[in-house]
Amino acid sequence: MSMPQAKIATLLGEGKKELASIKDASTLLTWETKYLGRKSELNEILKGLKDLSPEEKRLVGPVAQHARETLTTLHQEAAKRIEREGVDWDKEWIDVTAPGERIPAGHLHPITLLENEIADIFASLGFGVWDGPELEMEQNNFDSLNFPKDHPARDMQDTFWVKQDKHWKHTYLPRTHTSTVQVRYMQEHKPPIRIIVPGRIFRNEATDASHEHTFHQFECLMVDEPGKVTVATFKYIAETFFSRFFGKKIDIRLRPSYFPFTEPSFEFDISCVLCERKGCSVCQQTGWLEIGGAGMVNQKVFESVGYKRGAYQGFAWGFGLTRLAMMKYKITDIRLFMSGDLRFLKQF
């Protein structure tokens, strides 16, 4: 009778070798039965240990135990390996480049997106968002803002007028600017005031790629006691806002202007966002982009809302939200905003 040790060594060697080539679970099961099963040769040897002499037992026992442990460990490893790799990959193939199935997503209008973005920047500077009606009284759109009746300043804004009903006491118009809300807000609130007013406005002018009779503007109003909100403050707020909005340092340039509701009044330009003042086609080689009008609120406006002359001071600015959207997204035709064309809107 050959020594069990040699048999064990053979079993161990063959078991290892066979195991290495196994690639599927059923073959692995056959192997397990053969080498580790109840009727396996190794098990027979282990069961036969009790019949051996103490000396033989001492020699064969550990070898057989070790072989069993080794094969068990190897079996576990092989089982893990087959779990991961024993798959028919070809059968499982899918086209990973085919488009995904999407939940239909809606898009907010670029003007709305911009309005939200602006509101967030201003919120961080302590400004709230306010609004007012689009159909306004002549009083709020012009008179209270120091546009006297029959004054040439009224020509600065081509106005739609509403056909007067004979029972009406007021004259109405689709507002020509968001500055109407300055009046409404100040009538109801006392300074300090920090608000922005985005909204739809109307100008009676023919439509083409760069003109619209309906567009969006956004007003900024900051009022406090004299000396607290100055031209220098305005420059700071404007610089901070535009730098955050465009994500780079923006300079402000003020030029003299005239608006009835501000004194002093400015046109304000920002340094060109493309060329950084080197001059390019967007800024027509000037290095500056015209953005809007601004100024220190005229004391007459304060008086018209019931504030005492000289008691407060502040700035107001207004500029085209639509124009800003065109700059930001490089939109070349203003009419697209009101087109309702999904091919346009879904880009935002």
Partner: protein
């Protein structure tokens, strides 16, 4: 206004080139829209001297001239002008010249004689309408000079946008020259008071002047000249008019235009022999008629200010003169008006009659009523020198002399507004350069500033601070962060809700559109909207945008149609104002939300998708207890489909309507896709939001689910079945959820998942059976439904 750089330079004394002047103005005063060379169209036209004139061998009317156009350069030119003489200095168009009237000059042979150019008349040069002979230049004119340069048409034109409050002074060469000199840091070059005072003869032949409406006319100066000779004005005056964009007419008219450009004061010349009696300045009588200089006939209103004599209206004051009393070639005596009218009156007249003139543009900006004094002196000199006219009399009716204003300026206020400290000497310097008289007030950090009457825009301290700020330059004010008091958040609930809800809408697949707030009669009719409550636009741009919209539907549906051309299935919404007349508040504006679901499926299928989306929104927004009931059609009908539309109710209030549209509307619009629409009132929606939430304990014992399938023979609404099941199944029935609808041969089969449960125990099957049977019984008894076998 268009300004000649040369003229401005002469008056202001600046040494800066045109583009630097433009830059200076842009930074400190006015926007300069363009800086361009004056297009004189006089290339290849030079000055020359006629050396000799000989008859043409083959034509009686033509002559052959030898013309020197440079050292040793002589050209032979055939000319037909009767006034041609040897020794004259002339304008010679050389081959290659393209005259202002479009004629191209070439070398040619005229009846067998070589001609190397053309001698030009004033008309050919574009200087006047005079074509009676060639233009004869001053005897000292150089030979061989560029003609345009010689007469002063080689110039740069600055188109300056004068601000609306500076019309009183800066819509004139002197005014802008004053501004340029101030920005340049010196006094202007012209003498403010040039001519001697008018010497009115004692016999004063000028007609008497009566200002009847004193609010509308503040001052009226009238000068009477006799023996004027109407003719051409000198080249220097013509060129100044041309470069400023005005056409020369005749010496009288040119003088009035020239002085208007120079001083800003419009003047008007009447043919004095066409006037009878005194001059009245009064409001017109309703229906009075006037034929304007242009030949246009106007019927006047009682708000129009006119100049009249005792018999008739002569001119629409401040706007345009009448044809009858206009200057003609035969005019020998003239009456000259230098007036000051109320701006608003002139503005209303020019708008009413659709006439905008250089005069009305200036008058409506309220001119300085002291200006006519200087202008009268100036014009008397020019009329005498250029037309030979003799001043026979003058009248000056001045209602109330305008006085200089005095403003006290506290220096602390300057810093307080600008946010930067400006030293007192700088303040004084800026104001003085602007022509204001400044005095320090003793013992006070303040100044007295006297404002000349030409600057009505300077009314208070803030106006002066603007002058200081802009003179100094706003770029010298550094940005400074404010010290802000804590305000708490300024929250506008409406805007907040709008933002949140729009975002929710986009999450369930809706794209936001914006459409115009206007529509037309055709849109109202297409949707059966009554015209009456609509607010009409008095001056619409287009016939299809005549009214403010009362409904978002026409706009939304037109976009549904347009998008259907390229997109098969989509969802969109618009959140905007609608407007209508109101008996209570005159007008009413409210925000509405319109939604559309579109695809190639049937509209009924889209109805379900849209309703589902709304339910999503309501749940996310916190709008609970929404009920959908069959739409109640108002008397007179509406746009909603009779059996596919529902009213949306919250707490008994109508939130809006959801459904498909009347088939004829969809057909008329040419929409072939399936479309479901909802229109919600944004304010009702916002008020329905419940933000409080109270936690409910999670069920300790599992619910048991049992399905029920019911067959009805009629059109049974599922909501009623659910309501009934909940009523009779209580308290064990926790939820009833419709999961299938099947319709066949007049039968309607509704299947529900029913969830049964109790808080304190697991239900036994007997308990559940009992509740189930109760439900089956009630459905049969009350709704006639059978359990589906």
């Amino acid at each position: 206004m268009k300004y000649s750089y040369h003229w401005l330079k002469e008056l202001s004394g600046t040494k800066k080139p045109a583009d630097r002047v433009a830059d200076l103005l842009m930074r400190h005063a006015f926007e300069v829209e363009t800086v361009e060379s004056y297009a004189h169209h006089m290339e290849n036209i030079v000055t020359g001297e006629v050396l000799s004139v000989a008859p043409h061998p083959d034509a009686d009317r033509l002559r052959v001239a030898q013309v020197e156009i440079g050292k040793y350069t002589v050209r032979q030119i055939v000319c037909g002008a009767p006034n041609l003489e040897a020794g004259q200095k002339v304008a010679v168009a050389l081959p290659g010249a393209l005259l202002p009237n479009g004629i191209a000059i070439k070398e040619s042979e005229i009846r067998g004689v070589q001609s190397e150019g053309m001698l030009c008349s004033e008309k050919e040069l574009g200087l006047s309408e005079n074509h009676e002979g060639i233009a004869v230049l001053h005897e000292e004119a150089p030979i061989g000079a560029e003609f345009a340069k010689y007469i002063g048409l080689q110039d740069t034109i600055l188109d300056v946008k004068i601000l609306a409050d500076r019309g009183s002074d800066a819509l004139s060469y002197e005014g802008l020259a004053r501004e340029i000199a101030a920005l340049d840091g010196h006094a202007p070059q012209f003498i403010e008071v040039r001519a001697k005072p008018l010497r009115v003869p004692a016999y004063n032949r000028a007609p008497k002047i009566h200002i009847l409406d004193k609010k509308e006319c503040r001052r009226y100066v009238g000068l009477y000249f006799k023996d004027v000779v109407v003719g051409e004005s000198p080249f220097w005056m013509k060129t100044r008019l041309l470069v400023s964009g005005l056409r020369p007419v005749n010496n009288i008219v040119d003088i009035t235009n020239y002085l208007m450009l120079l001083t800003g004061q419009p003047l008007h010349a009447f043919d004095a022999d066409q006037l009878s009696g005194g001059i009245e300045i009064r409001l017109a009588k309703k229906g009075e008629k006037l034929e304007l200089l242009t030949g246009e006939k106007k019927t006047l209103t009682a708000q129009d200010l006119v100049i009249a004599d005792t018999k008739k209206v002569l001119a629409l004051a401040g706007v345009m003169g009448g044809k009858h009393s206009g200057i003609t070639k035969e005019t020998t005596n003239i009456f000259l008006e230098i007036a000051n009218f109320d701006g608003a009156t002139i503005r209303r007249s020019r708008i009413r009659h659709g006439l905008s003139t250089d005069a009305s543009y200036r008058f409506e900006r309220n001119l300085d009523s002291n200006l006519p004094t200087e202008v009268a002196r100036e014009v008397a000199v020019l009329i005498h020198e250029l037309t030979g006219g003799k001043l026979m009399g003058a009248r000056d009716e001045y209602i109330e002399k305008r006085k200089e204003r005095k403003i006290e300026l506290a220096l602390s206020r300057v810093e307080c507004v600008l946010g930067v400290k400006v030293p007192i000497f700088e303040v004084v310097q800026y104001l003085a350069l602007q022509g204001l008289t400044v005095k320090k007030i003793n013992g006070k950090e303040a100044l007295f500033v006297h404002i000349p009457t030409r600057r009505p825009d300077l009314r208070d301290e803030w106006d002066l601070i603007e002058e200081i700020g802009r003179m100094r330059g706003y770029d010298k004010i550094a940005a400074a962060a404010p010290e802000l008091p804590f305000l708490g958040e300024v929250v506008n609930e409406k805007k907040h809700f709008e933002r949140r809800t729009k975002e929710l809408l986009s999450h369930v697949g809706f794209t936001e559109i914006m459409t115009y707030s206007f529509y037309g009669i055709a849109d109202m009719d297409a949707f059966g909207l009554a015209h009456a409550q609509h607010i009409e636009i008095a001056n619409p741009l287009n016939p299809d945008q005549t009214h403010l919209r009362r409904s978002l539907l026409p706009g939304v549906l037109s976009k549904v149609k347009e998008n259907s051309r390229h997109t098969e299935s989509f969802r969109l919404f618009e959140w905007e104002s609608v407007f209508e007349k109101s008996k209570v508040s005159e007008i009413r504006e409210s925000k509405m939300l319109a939604l559309a679901c579109v695809s190639r499926d049937k509209s009924a299928r889209e109805f379900s998708r849209l309703k589902g989306a709304l339910e999503n929104i309501f749940e996310s927004a916190g709008v609970r207890d929404v009920v959908f009931v069959s739409h109640v059609v108002p008397a007179g009908g509406d746009e909603w489909h009779r059996t596919q539309s529902a009213d949306v109710l919250v707490g008994g209030k109508k939130l809006g309507t959801l459904g498909t549209l009347m088939p004829f509307i969809v057909k008329q619009l040419g929409i072939t896709s399936g479309v479901a629409i909802a229109v919600l009132d944004v304010e009702v929606l916002r008020e329905s939001v419940q933000t409080e939430k109270t936690f409910l304990l999670l069920p300790k014992f599992p619910f048991a689910i049992r399905d029920i399938s019911l067959v009805f023979s009629q059109r049974q609404k599922s909501q009623a079945v659910v309501d009934l099941m909940k009523e009779v199944g209580a308290p064990l029935l926790r939820k009833a959820e419709l999961f299938d609808i099947f319709e066949r041969e007049g039968e309607r089969n509704l299947a529900f998942h029913l969830s049964f449960g109790a808080d304190e125990r697991t239900l036994t099957s007997q308990e559940m059976d009992k509740a189930f049977d109760r439900i089956v019984g009630a459905v049969k008894e009350r709704l006639g439904g059978e359990l589906h076998q």
